[in-house]
Symmetry: C2
Subunit: 150 residues, 2 copies
DNA sequence: TTTTTAGTTCACAAAACACTGAACTAAATA
DNA sequence: TATTTAGTTCAGTGTTTTGTGAACTAAAAA
């Protein structure tokens, strides 16, 4: 029988909105919905079947999405003695690691812009000045990160 | 005849790396390369033909990419009296507007997480606590934005 | 041993995406 | 008026993405 989880109307709404947001950050729909569910549901640890049934995905789709989420550290699982299933959860307590990866991307962008600026013709003064201001703002952001998280 | 622009080896390298970075943020390859070129090239204003020839794109591909970049405010153009062409450029002086849009996305994420937290069962104490910490960091980031840019 | 559970793997179908070439347009030039 | 310039539009093609169902596996339970 189905192991579909009961969600309030508000939870369904939140799952959908969270998933859409995640899709916009490059995540595939199925993965986005799984993450959304694990963030919103009352229970933070759900089994393969609970995920599949609640979201109405195929078995293979669920398997592939879960594998990818595990491989990219967006999800983890635990087991329970005397129970063959895995229980999947979002390692939200590691949110600082996730944030770090985002700031690494930002730093890469800052570095690219810095290199671009370094080799630019001195003739395009306004352009160069704006580019410099922007990289300085990126540095300021990075500083917040090192102070608050790193 | 071709209006291909001359780029140093380093500039070619930077165009490619910048474009790859942009592709990773959801931009289509052609658009990513156009933005990269306009950031790196000595001249900040390039014509349709200079862009097409330098990047080796088709005319229609160039047209469609430019239209989309203009529609999404990632590019603008100016004209010159007595010249029928448009000269395209990256409005880098508006980098604060671009940053604002990014922070709007972050704020949306913070708000979603805040709503999720507000309706969560009180039983998952650790999860809720971590989620709260994270939204607080998102608020701190947003504060930097309001102080430095807005 | 046979069956059930908890998945994994894979070939493929449907849809979306990215780009191309060819035909077209509208304004300027000859 | 005819031609050139500076693009635009669109149908189609090749590629990539997502997800499906069917067959498979490995361990546990009956």
């Amino acid at each position: 029988m189905s192991e579909k989880i009961k969600l309030t109307k508000e939870q369904v709404e939140l799952v959908e909105q969270y998933a859409v947001f995640m899709e916009q950050t490059n995540l595939q729909p199925a993965m986005a919905k799984i993450l959304a569910l694990l963030n919103v549901a009352d229970e933070t640890e759900l089994s393969f079947n609970q995920i599949q049934d609640t979201l109405g995905l195929s078995k293979s789709g669920t398997s592939q999405a879960i594998s990818h989420l595990l491989a990219t550290n967006r999800m983890e699982y635990k087991t329970k003695l005397g129970d063959r299933k895995r229980y999947f959860y979002v390692p939200i307590h590691k949110w600082k690691d996730t944030a770090s990866r985002h700031f690494d991307g930002l730093e890469k962008y800052r570095n690219l812009n810095h290199r671009i600026l370094a080799q630019r013709s001195k003739k395009t003064k306004e352009f160069n000045e704006a580019l410099k201001e922007m990289t300085e703002f990126l540095s300021a952001l990075h500083k917040v990160y090192t102070e608050k998280i790193k």
